[in-house]
Protein backbone atom coordinates (compact mmCIF):
# COMPACT_ATOMS: atom_id res chain seq x y z
CA UNK A 1 0.00 0.00 0.00
CA UNK A 2 2.77 2.36 1.00
CA UNK A 3 4.67 1.49 -2.20
CA UNK A 4 1.59 2.40 -4.24
CA UNK A 5 1.20 5.70 -2.35
CA UNK A 6 4.88 6.40 -2.89
CA UNK A 7 4.73 5.86 -6.65
CA UNK A 8 1.57 8.00 -6.81
CA UNK A 9 3.37 10.81 -4.97
CA UNK A 10 6.35 10.56 -7.34
CA UNK A 11 3.96 10.68 -10.30
CA UNK A 12 2.25 13.80 -8.89
CA UNK A 13 5.60 15.51 -8.33
CA UNK A 14 6.64 14.68 -11.92
CA UNK A 15 3.38 16.12 -13.25
CA UNK A 16 3.83 19.27 -11.14
CA UNK A 17 7.39 19.64 -12.43
CA UNK A 18 6.16 19.29 -16.01
CA UNK A 19 3.47 21.92 -15.40
CA UNK A 20 5.99 24.32 -13.88
CA UNK A 21 8.36 23.77 -16.82
CA UNK A 22 5.56 24.53 -19.28
CA UNK A 23 4.62 27.71 -17.42
CA UNK A 24 8.24 28.86 -17.25
CA UNK A 25 8.74 28.16 -20.95
CA UNK A 26 5.55 30.04 -21.76
CA UNK A 27 6.72 33.03 -19.70
CA UNK A 28 10.10 33.06 -21.45
CA UNK A 29 8.47 32.76 -24.84
CA UNK A 30 6.11 35.60 -23.96
CA UNK A 31 9.08 37.83 -23.11
CA UNK A 32 10.81 36.80 -26.34
CA UNK A 33 7.78 37.57 -28.51
CA UNK A 34 7.09 40.86 -26.69
CA UNK A 35 10.68 41.91 -27.36
CA UNK A 36 10.81 40.95 -31.02
CA UNK A 37 7.27 41.36 -32.39
CA UNK A 38 7.26 45.09 -33.16
CA UNK A 39 10.56 45.01 -35.03
CA UNK A 40 9.47 41.85 -36.82
CA UNK A 41 6.26 43.56 -37.89
CA UNK A 42 8.11 46.56 -39.34
CA UNK A 43 10.59 44.27 -41.12
CA UNK A 44 7.72 42.27 -42.62
CA UNK A 45 5.84 45.46 -43.48
CA UNK A 46 8.85 46.95 -45.28
CA UNK A 47 9.24 43.67 -47.18
CA UNK A 48 5.67 43.36 -48.38
CA UNK A 49 4.36 46.96 -48.10
CA UNK A 50 1.13 45.93 -46.42
CA UNK A 51 0.55 46.19 -42.67
CA UNK A 52 -2.45 43.89 -42.38
CA UNK A 53 -0.72 41.07 -44.22
CA UNK A 54 2.47 41.75 -42.24
CA UNK A 55 0.52 41.32 -38.98
CA UNK A 56 -0.78 37.98 -40.23
CA UNK A 57 2.70 36.81 -41.21
CA UNK A 58 4.18 37.75 -37.82
CA UNK A 59 1.34 35.98 -36.01
CA UNK A 60 1.82 32.86 -38.16
CA UNK A 61 5.55 32.89 -37.41
CA UNK A 62 4.91 33.21 -33.67
CA UNK A 63 2.41 30.34 -33.73
CA UNK A 64 4.77 28.08 -35.66
CA UNK A 65 7.68 28.83 -33.33
CA UNK A 66 5.52 28.19 -30.25
CA UNK A 67 4.09 25.00 -31.73
CA UNK A 68 7.24 23.41 -33.10
CA UNK A 69 10.30 24.98 -31.52
CA UNK A 70 9.34 26.16 -28.02
CA UNK A 71 11.38 23.30 -26.57
CA UNK A 72 14.58 24.41 -28.31
CA UNK A 73 17.20 26.42 -26.38
CA UNK A 74 16.17 30.07 -25.96
CA UNK A 75 19.21 31.39 -27.83
CA UNK A 76 18.03 29.58 -30.99
CA UNK A 77 14.63 31.29 -30.97
CA UNK A 78 15.67 34.52 -32.71
CA UNK A 79 17.22 32.97 -35.85
CA UNK A 80 14.47 30.31 -35.96
CA UNK A 81 11.74 32.93 -35.66
CA UNK A 82 13.22 35.06 -38.44
CA UNK A 83 13.78 32.03 -40.62
CA UNK A 84 10.08 31.18 -40.32
CA UNK A 85 9.12 34.80 -40.96
CA UNK A 86 11.40 35.13 -44.00
CA UNK A 87 9.92 31.92 -45.45
CA UNK A 88 6.45 33.35 -44.91
CA UNK A 89 7.49 36.59 -46.64
CA UNK A 90 8.90 34.68 -49.62
CA UNK A 91 5.70 32.64 -49.87
CA UNK A 92 3.71 35.88 -49.76
CA UNK A 93 5.74 37.31 -52.67
CA UNK A 94 5.22 34.09 -54.68
CA UNK A 95 1.47 34.16 -54.10
CA UNK A 96 1.39 37.85 -54.95
CA UNK A 97 3.26 37.23 -58.21
CA UNK A 98 0.77 34.52 -59.20
CA UNK A 99 -2.14 36.76 -58.19
CA UNK A 100 -0.79 39.64 -60.27
CA UNK A 101 -0.34 37.35 -63.30
CA UNK A 102 -3.95 36.20 -62.96
CA UNK A 103 -5.17 39.78 -62.56
CA UNK A 104 -3.27 40.85 -65.68
CA UNK A 105 -4.71 37.87 -67.55
CA UNK A 106 -8.23 38.97 -66.63
CA UNK A 107 -7.44 42.58 -67.50
CA UNK A 108 -7.37 43.98 -63.97
CA UNK A 109 -4.53 46.18 -62.78
CA UNK A 110 -2.49 45.92 -59.61
CA UNK A 111 -4.77 46.79 -56.69
CA UNK A 112 -1.77 47.58 -54.52
CA UNK A 113 -1.36 50.87 -56.35
CA UNK A 114 -3.49 52.51 -53.68
CA UNK A 115 -0.75 52.06 -51.08
CA UNK A 116 -0.50 55.38 -49.29
CA UNK A 117 2.91 55.90 -47.69
CA UNK A 118 1.75 58.91 -45.69
CA UNK A 119 -1.21 57.00 -44.23
CA UNK A 120 1.03 54.03 -43.52
CA UNK A 121 3.66 56.15 -41.82
CA UNK A 122 3.94 55.35 -38.11
CA UNK A 123 2.40 57.59 -35.51
CA UNK A 124 4.89 60.08 -34.13
CA UNK A 125 5.87 60.12 -30.48
CA UNK A 126 6.66 63.49 -28.88
CA UNK A 127 8.32 65.25 -31.80
CA UNK A 128 7.71 68.65 -33.40
CA UNK A 129 5.88 68.60 -36.75
CA UNK A 130 9.12 69.45 -38.59
CA UNK A 131 11.04 66.64 -36.91
CA UNK A 132 8.12 64.34 -37.45
CA UNK A 133 8.01 65.15 -41.16
CA UNK A 134 11.76 64.79 -41.51
CA UNK A 135 11.70 61.43 -39.73
CA UNK A 136 8.77 60.15 -41.76
CA UNK A 137 10.35 61.28 -45.04
CA UNK A 138 13.72 59.78 -44.15
CA UNK A 139 12.18 56.47 -43.16
CA UNK A 140 9.94 56.46 -46.20
CA UNK A 141 12.96 57.06 -48.44
CA UNK A 142 14.79 54.23 -46.73
CA UNK A 143 11.80 51.90 -47.04
CA UNK A 144 11.43 52.69 -50.73
CA UNK A 145 15.12 52.05 -51.33
CA UNK A 146 15.04 48.79 -49.35
CA UNK A 147 12.00 47.57 -51.29
CA UNK A 148 13.98 48.05 -54.52
CA UNK A 149 16.71 45.66 -53.34
CA UNK A 150 16.81 42.02 -54.46
CA UNK A 151 15.14 39.75 -51.89
CA UNK A 152 18.25 38.20 -50.35
CA UNK A 153 20.03 41.56 -50.03
CA UNK A 154 16.92 42.99 -48.37
CA UNK A 155 16.81 40.11 -45.87
CA UNK A 156 20.51 40.37 -45.05
CA UNK A 157 20.37 44.15 -44.55
CA UNK A 158 17.28 44.15 -42.33
CA UNK A 159 18.32 41.19 -40.20
CA UNK A 160 21.81 42.58 -39.66
CA UNK A 161 20.95 46.26 -39.26
CA UNK A 162 17.41 46.38 -37.86
CA UNK A 163 17.30 43.18 -35.82
CA UNK A 164 20.98 43.31 -34.92
CA UNK A 165 21.71 39.66 -35.68
CA UNK A 166 25.36 38.77 -36.11
CA UNK A 167 26.61 37.12 -39.31
CA UNK A 168 26.14 33.58 -37.94
CA UNK A 169 22.59 34.31 -36.72
CA UNK A 170 21.68 35.95 -40.02
CA UNK A 171 23.03 32.93 -41.91
CA UNK A 172 20.84 30.63 -39.80
CA UNK A 173 17.80 32.85 -40.32
CA UNK A 174 18.38 33.06 -44.08
CA UNK A 175 19.39 29.42 -44.49
CA UNK A 176 22.65 30.21 -46.27
CA UNK A 177 26.38 30.41 -45.58
CA UNK A 178 28.03 33.20 -43.60
CA UNK A 179 29.97 34.17 -46.72
CA UNK A 180 26.73 34.70 -48.61
CA UNK A 181 25.41 36.89 -45.82
CA UNK A 182 28.50 39.10 -45.98
CA UNK A 183 28.19 39.42 -49.76
CA UNK A 184 24.46 40.19 -49.69
CA UNK A 185 24.88 42.69 -46.86
CA UNK A 186 27.77 44.50 -48.51
CA UNK A 187 25.94 44.79 -51.83
CA UNK A 188 22.78 45.96 -50.06
CA UNK A 189 24.42 48.70 -48.06
CA UNK A 190 26.35 50.05 -51.06
CA UNK A 191 23.21 50.04 -53.16
CA UNK A 192 21.25 51.87 -50.45
CA UNK A 193 23.96 54.48 -50.01
CA UNK A 194 24.03 55.05 -53.77
CA UNK A 195 20.24 55.37 -53.93
CA UNK A 196 19.78 57.63 -50.90
CA UNK A 197 22.92 59.73 -51.28
CA UNK A 198 25.54 60.65 -48.72
CA UNK A 199 23.37 63.33 -47.10
CA UNK A 200 20.56 61.01 -46.14
CA UNK A 201 20.00 60.82 -42.41
Amino acid sequence: MSAYAGSFAVSCVAEDRKGVDTLQREARLNRFFAGVEKRALRIAEISIRNRDDALDLVQDAMIKLARNYAGRPDEEWTPLFYRILQNRIRDWHRRQAVRNRVMVFFGRGNEDDDYDPVAAAPDPAGRTPDEELQTAEAMQGLENAISELPGRQREAFMLRTFEGLDVAGTAKAMGCSEGSVKTHYSRAIHSLRDTLGEHWQ
Partner: protein, 130 residues
Protein backbone atom coordinates in the same frame (compact mmCIF):
# COMPACT_ATOMS: atom_id res chain seq x y z
CA UNK B 1 38.31 56.10 -50.87
CA UNK B 2 40.16 53.29 -49.14
CA UNK B 3 38.53 50.18 -47.72
CA UNK B 4 38.72 51.40 -44.13
CA UNK B 5 36.85 54.61 -44.99
CA UNK B 6 34.28 52.61 -46.89
CA UNK B 7 33.64 50.33 -43.92
CA UNK B 8 33.39 53.35 -41.61
CA UNK B 9 30.87 55.00 -43.96
CA UNK B 10 28.87 51.78 -44.09
CA UNK B 11 28.78 51.70 -40.30
CA UNK B 12 27.62 55.32 -40.12
CA UNK B 13 24.90 54.64 -42.65
CA UNK B 14 23.78 51.47 -40.82
CA UNK B 15 23.63 53.37 -37.51
CA UNK B 16 21.47 56.10 -39.04
CA UNK B 17 19.19 53.53 -40.65
CA UNK B 18 18.83 51.72 -37.32
CA UNK B 19 17.89 54.99 -35.56
CA UNK B 20 15.20 55.73 -38.17
CA UNK B 21 13.93 52.17 -37.98
CA UNK B 22 13.72 52.24 -34.16
CA UNK B 23 11.80 55.53 -34.33
CA UNK B 24 9.28 53.93 -36.68
CA UNK B 25 8.96 50.95 -34.30
CA UNK B 26 8.37 53.27 -31.33
CA UNK B 27 5.75 55.13 -33.35
CA UNK B 28 3.53 52.08 -33.93
CA UNK B 29 -0.07 52.96 -33.08
CA UNK B 30 -2.15 51.44 -30.31
CA UNK B 31 -4.34 49.37 -32.59
CA UNK B 32 -1.32 47.68 -34.19
CA UNK B 33 0.24 46.99 -30.77
CA UNK B 34 -3.04 45.52 -29.60
CA UNK B 35 -3.25 43.24 -32.63
CA UNK B 36 0.32 42.10 -32.05
CA UNK B 37 -0.54 41.33 -28.46
CA UNK B 38 -3.55 39.26 -29.49
CA UNK B 39 -1.41 37.35 -32.00
CA UNK B 40 1.16 36.67 -29.27
CA UNK B 41 -1.48 35.32 -26.87
CA UNK B 42 -2.77 33.06 -29.62
CA UNK B 43 0.75 31.75 -30.21
CA UNK B 44 1.39 31.20 -26.49
CA UNK B 45 -1.78 29.13 -26.25
CA UNK B 46 0.01 26.65 -28.52
CA UNK B 47 2.56 25.94 -25.77
CA UNK B 48 -0.10 24.74 -23.31
CA UNK B 49 -2.45 23.07 -25.79
CA UNK B 50 0.33 21.63 -27.97
CA UNK B 51 -0.34 18.14 -26.58
CA UNK B 52 -3.89 18.18 -27.95
CA UNK B 53 -2.83 18.96 -31.51
CA UNK B 54 -3.66 15.46 -32.66
CA UNK B 55 -7.32 16.31 -31.95
CA UNK B 56 -7.45 18.45 -35.08
CA UNK B 57 -6.97 15.29 -37.15
CA UNK B 58 -9.78 13.42 -35.38
CA UNK B 59 -12.46 14.19 -38.02
CA UNK B 60 -10.14 13.16 -40.87
CA UNK B 61 -9.18 10.00 -38.97
CA UNK B 62 -12.83 9.14 -38.44
CA UNK B 63 -13.56 9.61 -42.12
CA UNK B 64 -10.59 7.44 -43.10
CA UNK B 65 -11.70 4.68 -40.70
CA UNK B 66 -15.23 4.81 -42.11
CA UNK B 67 -13.81 4.52 -45.64
CA UNK B 68 -11.74 1.47 -44.64
CA UNK B 69 -14.80 -0.20 -43.06
CA UNK B 70 -16.85 0.54 -46.19
CA UNK B 71 -14.19 -1.00 -48.44
CA UNK B 72 -14.00 -4.12 -46.25
CA UNK B 73 -17.78 -4.56 -46.30
CA UNK B 74 -18.09 -3.93 -50.05
CA UNK B 75 -15.27 -6.25 -51.05
CA UNK B 76 -16.10 -9.02 -48.55
CA UNK B 77 -19.83 -9.25 -49.21
CA UNK B 78 -20.87 -10.98 -52.50
CA UNK B 79 -24.21 -9.16 -52.43
CA UNK B 80 -22.37 -5.83 -52.77
CA UNK B 81 -19.85 -7.32 -55.17
CA UNK B 82 -22.66 -7.76 -57.67
CA UNK B 83 -23.12 -4.03 -57.84
CA UNK B 84 -21.40 -2.61 -60.88
CA UNK B 85 -19.02 0.29 -60.27
CA UNK B 86 -20.92 2.82 -62.44
CA UNK B 87 -24.11 2.12 -60.48
CA UNK B 88 -22.35 2.73 -57.19
CA UNK B 89 -20.95 5.95 -58.59
CA UNK B 90 -24.40 7.00 -59.71
CA UNK B 91 -25.80 6.26 -56.26
CA UNK B 92 -23.10 8.32 -54.64
CA UNK B 93 -23.76 11.15 -57.05
CA UNK B 94 -27.45 11.08 -56.17
CA UNK B 95 -26.71 10.92 -52.46
CA UNK B 96 -24.36 13.87 -52.66
CA UNK B 97 -26.68 16.16 -54.60
CA UNK B 98 -28.26 19.00 -52.72
CA UNK B 99 -31.83 17.78 -53.12
CA UNK B 100 -31.11 14.35 -51.58
CA UNK B 101 -32.43 15.53 -48.22
CA UNK B 102 -35.68 16.57 -49.83
CA UNK B 103 -35.94 13.13 -51.37
CA UNK B 104 -35.41 11.46 -48.02
CA UNK B 105 -38.12 13.61 -46.47
CA UNK B 106 -40.57 12.49 -49.18
CA UNK B 107 -39.47 8.86 -49.13
CA UNK B 108 -42.98 7.63 -48.30
CA UNK B 109 -44.40 9.40 -51.35
CA UNK B 110 -41.73 7.99 -53.68
CA UNK B 111 -42.24 4.43 -52.35
CA UNK B 112 -46.00 4.84 -52.99
CA UNK B 113 -45.29 5.91 -56.60
CA UNK B 114 -42.93 2.97 -57.00
CA UNK B 115 -45.52 0.55 -55.60
CA UNK B 116 -48.20 2.00 -57.88
CA UNK B 117 -45.99 1.64 -60.95
CA UNK B 118 -45.26 -2.00 -60.12
CA UNK B 119 -49.01 -2.68 -59.71
CA UNK B 120 -49.71 -1.22 -63.16
CA UNK B 121 -46.95 -3.33 -64.72
CA UNK B 122 -48.37 -6.52 -63.14
CA UNK B 123 -52.08 -5.89 -63.70
CA UNK B 124 -51.96 -4.13 -67.02
CA UNK B 125 -53.22 -0.63 -67.66
CA UNK B 126 -55.95 0.58 -65.36
CA UNK B 127 -59.05 1.63 -67.11
CA UNK B 128 -60.14 4.78 -65.39
CA UNK B 129 -62.67 5.64 -67.97
CA UNK B 130 -66.26 5.51 -66.88
Amino acid sequence: MNERDDIADNDVFATRAKVRFDESVDGLDGDTRSRLNRGRQKALAEVTTGGLRWMQWAPAGGLAAAAVVAVVIFTGNPQFAELAAPEVATDMEILLTEDSLEMIENLEFYSWIDFDAEAIDNDGPVNNVG
